[in-house]
């Protein structure tokens, strides 16, 4: 930490290591922005993409890919293809608000909730985030263990490999390097597309599904559960906290919002392609009437092996490993950001280890604790995998209302408050999520009412 006393101001101005690293990143952005021409604009785009791609591909995590795989295996190619596109559109609507909030206020999401609404509501939202993140982290390590299990890797080595990758990503103590390393790993999520192509899907059937949303699934408890799981695979509370904090840590300003939006749409496009690839890849299991209930990642790969060969099955298993590792990195980072924001401890990936002990400690401890739980023999973790996306959907409406209130707060947003159309869309997202949660509740606790509504 450096400090300088300016005689004119008679005050001590402290410039931290974090400020200097961020200033380096911003100087490169300013240089690219000052130049004209296609190459400079492309470079500017390259410098400013990151949080959106990471959050969207990070959300294509272990349980999400398992949900998509289960969707394809249970329902084949039909209603769920356009439905998944719709859920990613909802994710873009929601995540765009976090870009604006981060760029306008330069504060993280947890920090804004605590300071603007007080610790009472702040703690509620932080507890929601903490529980959701920890359950999700457990499922990431389950996916990693199962994916590497396909290759005969023992569970403890699989977990150690995942923790080592997480540590390597952090070692640079630079946001920029961390972001690029994690993005490179996240792009491996697209491996599900070649796997889908290996199954030789019927493209007219795919086209028909997009055009008509048919065949429709039956209205049953299982369908409600899979609908909720697929929604939870695209919109979850950690995404709000992560993208806003990453936008702040990257140093994005109001001038960069346009690029932040592009980044979010780009990430959603890539993640949608991977999600659709997964559904299409496992659709042959539906055609072969294979029961995939309670399948883990490795079992999907094994079931697909007769159809797409060992190489294709290995790619599928590796995709699951990647999904788990990238999400473990981004989700544990979102927990560490939120903890630092509410405790006012330093919280940035630009911090050297000495200055960011609590930040890095929370990040690694969250991941290590979740990893350790996965190694305990005999725990019924399959229920966690099945329900973690459902829990995410249920926790989303309260999180979205805080986001909605913050992004419409003129005192902190100024002219960047949400326009009417954005408010209508985000209100629609809250209503859809709440209705889906209520329907799920009815299907469990009031089967008679569910049957009266036409459910089976």
């Amino acid at each position: 930490m450096k400090s300088v006393t300016t005689q004119s101001e008679q005050e001590t101005l402290v410039i931290t290591h974090e400020d200097i690293d961020r200033a380096h990143d911003r100087a490169r952005v300013s240089q690219a922005r000052a130049r004209r021409g296609f190459l400079s604009q492309t470079r500017l785009l390259w410098l400013l993409v990151g949080p959106g791609v990471l959050v969207m591909l990070g959300e294509n995590d272990g349980p999400s890919m398992l949900s998509y795989a289960a969707t394809g295996a249970k329902y084949g190619i039909g209603f769920f293809l356009p439905f998944v596109v719709l859920t990613f559109c909802m994710a873009v609507v929601v995540q765009e608000m976090t870009v604006r909030l981060g760029a306008a206020t330069h504060r993280g999401h947890a920090e804004l909730i605590f300071e603007r609404f007080g610790p009472f509501w702040g703690w509620f939202s932080l507890i929601d985030l903490g529980i959701g993140n920890f359950l999700t982290l457990i499922t990431e390590f389950i996916a990693i263990r199962a994916g590497l299990g396909f290759f005969g890797v023992p569970p403890w080595i699989a977990i150690l490999v995942a923790l080592a990758v997480l540590y390597i990503a952090l070692m640079s103590h630079r946001y920029w390097t961390w972001e690029r390393t994690t993005m490179a790993a996240a792009l491996f999520n697209l491996v599900f597309i070649p796997v889908a192509l290996m199954t030789h899907p019927s493209w007219p059937t795919v086209g028909h599904a997009f055009a008509t949303w048919q065949p429709l699934p039956g209205f049953s408890k299982d369908t409600v559960l899979i609908v909720l799981a697929d929604i939870g695979a695209t919109v979850t509370p950690w995404m709000l906290f992560f993208q806003q904090s990453a936008t702040v840590d990257k140093g994005m300003t109001t001038k960069d919002i346009r690029f932040g939006r592009f980044d979010t749409v780009l990430g959603a496009g890539l993640a949608t392609a991977a999600a659709l690839g997964t559904i299409i890849a496992t659709a042959p299991l539906f055609a072969h009437q294979m029961s995939a209930d309670n399948f883990e990642a490795a079992q999907f790969a094994q079931a697909l092996q007769p159809i797409i060969g060992h190489f294709g099955a290995a790619l599928f298993a590796l995709g699951m490993v990647e999904a788990g590792i990238v999400a473990a990195i981004t989700i544990s980072t979102s927990s560490a950001y939120a903890f630092g924001e509410v405790t006012h401890k330093p919280h940035s990936l630009n911090l050297p280890m000495g200055e960011g002990k609590s930040f890095y400690a929370v990040l690694t401890l969250c991941a290590a604790a979740a990893a350790a739980i996965v190694l305990i023999p005999g725990l019924p973790l399959v229920y966690v995998v099945l329900l973690v996306n459902v829990v995410a959907v249920l926790a989303m409406p309260p999180a979205l209302v805080f986001l909605f209130m913050l992004v419409n707060d003129k005192e902190i947003m100024g002219d960047l408050v949400s326009p009417l159309w954005a408010n209508i869309l985000s209100t629609g997202v809250v209503l859809v999520l709440t209705a889906a949660g209520v329907l799920f509740g009815i299907s469990i606790i009031a089967p008679n009412i569910f049957a009266a509504l036409g459910g089976k």
């Binding site: 200033a23 100087a27 504060r107 609404f117 249920l394 309260p398 707060d409 902190i412 606790i445």
Partner: protein, 70 residues
Amino acid sequence: MTNKDDANELRADQSWVLSSLEHDQLVKAKKHKIPRRRLKGPELLVLWGLRIYLLFMMAVVSYQVWIAAR
């Protein structure tokens, strides 16, 4: 390097950082708290309603896990 050289280098760092970052991006500036906003009645109603909804739904999920585990 003398103390005077050190001070000059730090001042150069300072002016470069200040020109590259917006003022409220500085770590020091973030220590200033954003003023609390008083929540209005309808807002509190929505927040409490959703809090009760979430607690109730978590109980439903726990019940489902319990049923499945049996």
